[in-house]
């Protein structure tokens, strides 16, 4: 699996765009830092998503215009944002009541590893000496109705991210519903990984080769 197969597949933007297609109109969505944030650029025509940022804003809008940033209007990644009409501010206990209480429809997160049983590892490599930092990831995966992971199919060194069982410390147990990678859209089912859709031009066998656990093909 560490073999460098030459496939590129979807770009980050295409992955985000593909994921956005699967979000229903009116959904309350929390987008993690990184690729997940790109989803907001690809809201399908005719739909509205309402973005929750766990530091206390529902109805988060895009980055402010140059010179209009307020250092106290930021998202969970501590970047300057705006507030859309119809938004609301609230404190952290209320914000995580929304998360833990199952009021958010969707959490989109990055990942280090996803296991075939839905386990997610995305907060720590567990390496000695590293400064552990967890933020709200464990709350999001434990509380939000649906959890989508968006990630490159393999690590920069070519290792599989979709695995039989995670070697990194878990963020949550059996929490991932669907994975969007540069190569495929893959559901986590009671029978393990199930390919929903392949990136055009990418063969099932290629994806299987780059995956550390058995895949079921879309037609199965």
């Amino acid at each position: 699996m560490t073999q460098q197969t030459q496939v590129t597949g979807w770009t980050r933007e295409e992955m985000a765009q593909r994921l956005a297609q699967d979000i229903a109109n009116g959904s309350y969505v929390n987008l993690g830092i990184g690729i997940p944030e790109l989803v907001a650029k690809f809201v399908p025509e005719g739909r509205t998503f309402i973005y929750h940022t766990e530091n206390g804003l529902l109805g988060m809008g895009p980055s402010p215009a140059e010179g209009e940033a307020d250092p106290e209007l930021i998202n969970a990644g501590k970047r300057h944002v705006t507030a859309n009409p119809g938004s609301a501010y609230f404190h952290h206990a209320d914000s995580f009541a929304m998360i833990r209480g199952g009021h958010l429809d969707l959490s989109v997160l990055g990942a280090m590893q996803i296991a075939q049983n839905g386990d997610l590892a995305n907060w720590s490599t567990g390496k000695p000496g590293a400064i552990p930092a967890v933020g709200g990831a464990m709350d999001l995966v434990a509380g939000v109705k649906q959890v989508f992971v968006i990630t490159q199919h393999c690590t920069k060194t070519g290792d599989a991210k979709l695995v039989e069982s995670c070697s990194y410390p878990l963020t949550g147990r059996g929490v991932v519903d669907r994975v969007y990678t540069n190569l495929a859209v893959i559901d986590v089912t009671p029978d393990g990984f199930q390919v929903v859709e392949l990136c055009p031009g990418v063969e099932f066998e290629t994806v299987q080769e780059l995956t550390g656990a058995p895949l079921r093909s879309a037609s199965e």
Binding site: Y28, T48, G59, A83, G86, S87, A88, A97, M98, G101
Partner: protein, 236 residues
């Protein structure tokens, strides 16, 4: 576009099925969503469990729903008020069951139900008959009771203003249980004196964020229990 407005109270409560659990906001008449309750009476659902601080007055609003023999259980802290005769009769008759909960425990259980907290410990009611059968535990040398989160199929609440995203403002002490009940139900239905466009409510002063609200209906000039009772009204 997101638009949680519904046309009228009848449409707002149309899908409430027999056997549903329903949280109903209000402390006495303050915050009682009378028009939604009356629509529920008209709608006909029965065998309901109602979670509410009181049991209504006279024969309007919540008391009228009880009088129509539609509520088989109430979870509440204070089921008697001035002018409250309906519930006592149903209770003595054995038609309506009562789960009596201290007011603060009721509030905290509802908040927990909305916040994904299945259970918590509280010092309230330790050593009293309301602790009977409950689990105890000591923390730092003091006894506490285990209490469970409380959720419901529906919440019916009253706001002063809403926007079409479901963001809510309340009027004075009519706020009481509404914000936590909005959190704790699968479907939260709001009657508000005005329903505004998104952006018309300052995001800094929103009390209930729209994520907790499913339907809003404008009831521009809501009735009060005391006024209806003084006018001799008995619903329906």
């Amino acid at each position: 576009m997101i638009n949680k407005r519904v046309l009228n109270p009848a449409e707002a409560v149309a899908d409430i099925a027999d056997g549903s659990s329903i949280m109903i906001g209000g402390f006495g008449e303050a915050g009682s969503p009378i028009e939604l309750i009356h629509a529920l009476i008209d709608q006909g659902a029965s065998d309901l469990t109602v979670i509410s601080n009181n049991t209504g007055s006279g024969e309007v609003g919540l008391a009228a729903l009880l009088k129509e023999r539609r509520v088989t259980k109430v979870i509440c802290s204070f089921p008697k008020t001035l002018n409250s005769t309906v519930f006592p009769e149903l209770y003595r008759e054995g038609f309506t069951e009562l789960e009596l909960v201290p007011q603060g425990t009721l509030a905290e259980r509802i908040r927990a139900g909305g916040a994904g907290v299945p259970a918590f410990y509280t010092p309230t009611a330790v050593g009293t008959p309301l602790a009977e059968g409950k689990e105890f535990r000591e923390f730092n040398g003091r006894d506490y009771l285990l209490e469970h989160g409380l959720a419901a199929d529906y919440s019916l609440i009253k706001g002063l203003a809403a926007d079409s995203h479901g963001n809510l403002l309340y009027n004075k002490t009519a706020r009481n249980f509404a914000p936590i009940m909005a959190m704790a139900a699968d479907v939260t239905i709001v009657q508000a004196a005005s329903v505004l466009e998104p952006g018309e409510i300052d995001p800094e002063i929103v009390v209930t964020p729209g994520i907790f609200v499913d339907r809003v209906v404008e009831v521009a000039d809501p009735a009060y229990e005391s006024e209806l009772i003084a006018a001799g009204v008995s619903y329906p």
